[in-house]
Symmetry: C2
Subunit: 695 residues, 2 copies
């Protein structure tokens, strides 16, 4: 039993394991996003609610209603039939029309703007559209319900954005150029000119083919061949006078001839590097002949409809079947591949090599492999090192026999994305000892060098990504990302993403905010608000103190944006979990921070992180700032390297096998370290000599 | 241009390359089996005939007629709908009811007896049924056309015959017992008890499985695993508390985990050894735990409808598609497997290992691999050494993932059946030099020892199997198989298969006959009939001399059974082709018969061969008779050995690779040897010192 986060006077049994917050029955049943529902899909409590069943029933009713409205999307003219009452966003998804919807239909990002050309749509008033936009007929796709046939226009700026994403290619190519010197794909097109048979040289067609492949350096002793190839072989070799092209896939266990085509002219050969993030999916389309990135696309993982973090995805897979989650990820991936192919003017059939990097849950869900034991003690993944698969058996938009390498992951909570990241940073080849960190809902940590590697994961919770924080949000338009507080007036100076009116606060903003609250003495080292009677920015919110970031008249929602004592507590838990992860893992390795030569930060959250402020609140250790490096999305970069190079694919397997995984869930040292880290910056101030303490 | 074999006064351009006989237009168009049609499907001329197209059209008309008659087969009650005008045999085949039809519906063997219980059937009069049988309602299934709904009874004796075939098991087990000492199947059921995971030992389920397999001696470094197994793995290992059974297939190139089942109790494990002969298919059902042959079945290859020899099968595959030929072979194989399983009370799903032995054409047709280049210069098979396939992809009645090993064959006309035969005889492991021969339509020859092997094939033509011989037939009921001719009266003493009235002459009978014709001076060394005016047994038949084996009143057909000068010429060509094969291959190896330590004769024809008579006519060499060994169906015996033993499968591959193939088709030495061998016994009498020459 605990107090409801929205109604502190109410005792309730519904505790969210993630957010460490209680919700009363009313809040559980409430659909108001401001109170609870904005995190509804992220919070396990939601799954416990009776009300949930009612919503399910409502959803079902809607689904079984007759499909009676036709929606046409211009300028390309796609049409789709959807039930009346569907949103324009749902219609767009059903029609496979790309509409930017960062918040996945929650009505908070304001990015899914469409123009209604004709027809019946009910759109509630929204502060996210300007008057000028409203006049032009703009609506938010996720908020607009279809009541009859309708024709909508995708605005120019959205189309341009699509092209701008595709244009990422050149920059990415430059960033990655030189990473791979010898291109060596899994599935090779081997052009051959065979000597025609004679009475004196009458070996079988297959032996002749193998002889040709051997000359090209293929290991024919470990070569398999399927019945399909044997059936096509006799005609294929004779059609163009013994000039042929063999498609040969190289696996760790054995090679295989997948296809034999007449003729041996050059064919376009493309590859895909895919990073399946829990939130964002990134796709690079690569020319396999020279390593150029022809197009790069990114989009929200549609699985987000089933929850923000991997635990909720697994829960959803247990409830609805793993196939559903697989299809959702594939919908995003294939739509991104389609965009990339379109912008490069290429066909899916030319894609014969794919590398997928993702955490263990993402990999299991994509392949429809049972994920349920990932979240149950003792946290066992079904597969760590995946065999090379075929694109067709996964359902990827590529040549069906295209080779797919899944980055191996050593543990349930340290996956292929981390191995891929290590591969990119290259510290597994160096003598220097590196601490590699990827902070998100899960914080993954690797420490080591060419000799050894240890890894662990700590559950930071969703606070850094806006979850469990009353006004928390992702780093999207309107998110407060930088804050300075005047020490005298306590008035803040804010900067927001896109310089839009403030709509919430994102992770980097929260770190800034806490550092400033400390510096200005608004909160003390234990995370308590100091009494600031008479200051208009510090006030009671319900029965707890809060700092007002923005007043109602400054926000599009016309509500105060506040940061409460509970929010602060959640964030301290999150940063404490991450920092305890560092110290515990170092301790397990018999090390301390002074022995770390370099810290590499990767992942989306790291991009906006102010190192100084992160040290100030005790999220990052207080060591020489020159040792910190931010290396961006290392998961996609490692996937790109493995796509082009057999050596790197082998290194990825070796990294996975070298890593010793340390489990924190039952580790008493971790519990102690966590308790010590739930201070600002830490109970042990000696560990943070450069941090000026406020009181 | 040449003279028609039936009408020697007529010049005709239609020459049969196989039978070396001409047929006039009338004979080509004629449907009378006594004149021509009894070999119709065996003779390539048939394919050249204009009339053929008309027959095709008729067949098509029949096929498109409405299916309007229902046929019920008792005692099991199978029913089938067929067009009016179909034969009962066709109906039985459509209903998958086993009816013994040795002659494949030619109306000559009299074995397809059924009893019409009720309904409308038109059966022409036949001498192959006794009056008592006719009274009981017996008809010949192949001669009886259905005109309305009909119910037929399969006679008791036919049902018993089925069981008698299945009873072969014990005898075969005794014959093969001791051949394999260590059983080592391709697809192994590996029972495992895995240690349940803990936080300290948290490797993935797949790694845990591989760890278990490694303990059992499996090479997990070369282990592949498909997405299906990864999807079933998590549940399978947990369902029975980490007791599981893994199905692991061992291939030359790599191993693969095919399935994981909960529980690790013993499961029935069966295997099949299959010999696909051009004429006869033999199936052994084997207990893989102890090597016992549980059942053995044999039947006519249904492909025989498309011609008796491999060339005609290939022609038919080019015309009708290779799928059709594959389905025909599979129909026979699967029906035989079904019989074997029934008699052993086993299920197809328990069959997880299969070895198939057959000549190169049979293997290609079964697998639907293009066979057309086998019969075209330079005679190239598509595949010599087949990878291990799965029963499901071939269509065999077995567990779909059952492993199928196809015996490798070194050349287009020396196939896996010969390799299998060599494996069984074991001379590839011995110092003695062995000449291995398998005489049929094609004569295959291997010479060698543990150091080396040479092989070749010679086209003997179908004469030994009754083809191209006016009264030739297979060794079926009524076939003359032994003959003695009184040197004074020239009257023969005949013995027939089954002691039935003579209906024709089979291969062993012909060899006897020629030896006797030589001994009694009826023919001279050059194969000419000596003038025997006044002897009633030697007379003119058309414009050529002939020996009368039986007069019309002694035969069921009420016609004279004669052996003409043309028949003799065909047989001399056949035996000359085989003997020339021996001498040419020995010559290529720099050897002569005195250096041969042993001659092994295998194959169905060899079983009835009188060695002394075969030497007398110059088919076999005149060497110490003690050197001759008959070893039966060595192809199925070798398949049985390879089924049980990995060592033998490896030896089969080595035999195939060791063999040097010598092509005779353009070999001038062979042409010379053939010419010399077209005498009785040979132009070089020194080679046949023991043969008393008649004149």
């Amino acid at each position: 039993m605990g107090k409801c986060v929205n109604h502190p006077d109410r005792e309730t049994p519904y505790l969210c394991m993630k957010h460490q917050t209680y919700l009363c029955e009313e809040c559980l049943e409430c659909k108001d996003p401001k109170i609870y529902c904005k995190h509804r899909s992220a919070c396990p409590i939601w799954f416990m609610s009776k009300r949930k069943e009612n919503w399910d029933a409502e959803d079902k009713n809607a689904a079984t209603a007759a499909a009676d409205c036709t929606v046409t999307f211009q300028p390309d003219g796609q049409t789709v039939s959807v039930p009346a009452g569907s949103t324009l966003l749902e219609a767009a998804q059903a029609a496979d029309v790309h509409v930017n919807a960062s918040c996945n239909g929650k009505g908070s990002c304001g990015k899914c703007k469409l123009v209604v050309a004709s027809g019946a749509v009910e759109s509630p008033p929204t502060p996210l559209l300007t008057d000028a936009e409203k006049k032009k007929g703009y609506v938010l796709a996720c908020q607009s319900r279809i009541t009859g046939d309708v024709s909508v226009q995708i605005p120019e700026e959205a189309l341009q954005k699509k092209l701008k994403i595709a244009g990422m290619g050149q920059a990415v190519t430059e960033q990655l150029s030189g990473m791979v010197t010898e291109i060596d794909p899994m599935l090779k097109q081997v052009p051959l000119t065979l000597a025609p048979p004679t009475l004196e040289d009458s070996v079988s067609d297959l032996d002749r083919l193998n002889r040709g492949l051997k000359k090209e350096g293929c290991d024919v002793n470990r070569m398999n061949v399927g019945i399909k190839v044997m059936r096509q072989l006799a005609e294929a070799v004779r059609q163009d006078n013994w000039n042929i092209t063999a498609s040969v896939i190289r696996r760790k266990c054995a090679n295989e001839i997948l296809e034999v085509r007449p003729g041996n002219g050059a064919q376009p050969s493309l590859g895909l590097a895919i990073d399946i993030g829990t939130t964002t999916i990134v796709v690079y389309l690569v020319d396999m002949t020279d390593g150029r990135v022809l197009a790069a696309t990114a989009g929200h993982n549609r699985q987000a409809d089933c929850g923000d973090d991997v635990i909720n995805r697994i829960v959803c897979a247990e409830k609805n079947g793993v196939k559903k989650l697989s299809r959702m990820a594939l919908a995003t991936i294939n739509s991104l591949i389609g965009e990339a192919l379109d912008s490069a003017g290429a066909k899916a059939d030319a894609v014969r090599n794919v590398v997928v990097s993702g955490n263990t849950t993402m990999a299991h869900l994509l392949l429809q492999i049972e994920p349920r034991y990932i979240r149950r003690d003792p946290y066992i993944p079904t597969v760590s090192e995946f065999p090379i698969l075929k694109a067709g058996e996964i359902g990827l938009k590529a040549n069906p026999m295209g080779a797919v390498f899944i980055m191996p992951g050593p543990a349930s909570y340290v996956g292929g994305d981390i191995v891929s990241g290590v591969l990119y940073t290259g510290f597994h080849r160096e003598d220097l000892t590196t601490l590699f960190i990827d902070i998100g809902t899960n914080g993954e940590i690797v420490i080591g060098n060419r000799e050894w590697m240890m890894t662990a994961a700590c559950s930071a919770g969703p606070a850094f990504e806006g979850g469990g924080i009353r006004w928390g949000m992702r780093a999207e338009e309107g998110a407060i990302e930088k804050i300075t507080i005047d020490p005298h007036s306590l008035e803040p100076t804010l900067s927001t993403v896109g310089d839009a009116p403030a709509r919430g606060i994102c992770g980097s903003g929260m770190i800034d905010l806490i550092a400033e609250l400390m510096r200005t003495g608004i909160v003390d080292r234990s995370g308590r608000f100091v009494d600031m009677a008479g200051k208009r920015r510090v006030r009671q919110q319900g029965d707890e103190p809060a700092y007002v970031l923005a007043f109602a008249d400054e926000t599009p929602m016309e509500e105060d944006i506040v940061f409460t004592a509970s929010d602060l507590k959640n964030l301290i838990y999150s940063k404490g979990a991450v920092y305890a992860g560092f110290t515990t893992l170092l301790g397990e390795a018999g090390m301390n921070f002074s022995m770390v030569d370099r810290i590499i930060i990767t992942g989306g959250f790291g991009q906006y992180l102010n190192i100084e402020r992160a040290v100030a609140i005790g999220l990052l250790p207080d060591i020489d700032r020159a040792k910190f490096n931010y290396m961006g999305n290392s998961s996609i970069a490692g996937a790109y390297m493995a796509l082009l190079s057999g050596q790197y694919r082998q290194e990825a397997r070796e990294i996975c096998n070298t890593m010793t995984y340390v489990d924190f869930s039952s580790n008493p040292r971790y519990m102690d370290e966590f308790t010590s880290a739930c201070f600002l910056p830490h109970t042990d101030l000696n560990a943070f000599p450069s941090v000026a303490t406020p009181n």
